[in-house]
Assembly symmetry: C2
Homo-oligomer: 209 residues x 2
């Protein structure tokens, strides 16, 4: 088993934090996305989706998608549980993970990839090229700001995103908040609950993974 | 417990198919999205996210997000398993569910919501308004066609999306293929594996749910 990783990219960071919380280590192969290493022939042979993170299993098959990789390790090693345990907790983790991704993470990615020169014709990740759409930059930032507001409202009454327990939804939301800084969307002074939560997660050893 | 549903919309259909496969029935409340019933004060009180499907639990709390609702019922009633059983199966279901959603379903939604008059200023679902971006129409269709090609490649070697067993990934991919028809993206004559798979799922009783 080996994990294709890139230290500077937010999705691989989610996987590294998840593994650190589980205490799992595995061989990592760095793919420098800023140098275009995902387009190299060697990498494409292993990983036709040209995505990072990507987990190559011992039979040579490929697992892509951050959350699929995390779920694989959750199933292999359930402790500590990061996807909830009761039906309600599991559902809440799924709901908040998705909200953090669809409303937060993807909005930030949209603002970034449609504005930065190095993503010209690469406005979406994956094997196909798509041109940048300038109108998505401001919309992405606006959506990211709305997500921070929603996260603040949630964290005003909950210690962690889904309740008292730290879960993978906190990892996704935390990495999203950090990622939002790349497009100059930052927690505001009145986001006090969000800042308390952010500081608590930043202090976990996994935040350095 | 009650489920807010709208018979004509694709996400609620995914939940209805899932429940039908499980043999679960529960009270449904129709919210006619085409008549703007999601903006009504009664609905917003229960469901500030203004989304359908939405599950109101017995304690009055709200579960949104199609996949969170499905996972809730999977946890409550594991048989028949629709999210995989082994770690590898669970990971594959997650990977393919996400690919079907992010690369397929969201692309179709993008093409539809940015082109149709009734979604003017409602280019994204939820409580906030966003203007249409015309450039997303063609990009959405192009991505949806690419998804059909990828699905064909996968189904050429697998009976169902994740292998031999029917899972929630098939539900999402099936509803996505039907939804793509709304923006005139349809399986091509050479998508023979996809058409074989589509016909098999269309013949399941749950496809009528």
């Amino acid at each position: 088993m080996k994990l294709y990783d890139f230290e500077l990219a937010p999705n691989p960071r989610r996987v590294r934090m998840f593994l650190a919380e589980k205490g799992i280590t595995l061989p990592m192969v760095q793919v420098n996305l800023r140098h275009g290493e995902q387009f190299g022939e060697d990498f494409k042979r292993d990983n036709p989706a040209m995505l990072v993170p990507a987990l190559v299993l011992d039979d040579g098959s490929l697992l892509t998608e951050t959350m699929a990789i995390c779920r694989y390790f959750e199933a292999l090693q359930p402790q500590p549980p990061l996807f909830g345990t009761t039906p309600r907790e599991q559902a809440d983790v799924e709901m908040w993970s998705r909200r953090a991704e669809l409303e937060g993470f993807l909005a930030v990615a949209e603002a970034l990839r449609n504005s930065v020169e190095r993503f010209k014709d690469r406005a979406l990740p994956g094997p196909r090229n798509y041109a940048q759409i300038p109108a998505l930059v401001e919309r992405g930032k606006s959506r990211a700001r709305a997500f921070l507001d929603d996260l603040e409202a949630r964290l005003a009454t909950h210690a962690c995103v889904t309740g008292d327990a730290f879960t993978v939804a906190d990892i996704t939301a935390f990495v999203t908040v950090e990622f939002a800084g790349w497009v100059d969307v930052k927690p505001a002074a009145h986001h006090t609950a969000l800042q308390r939560w952010h500081a608590a997660i930043a202090a976990r050893p996994s935040a350095k993974a």
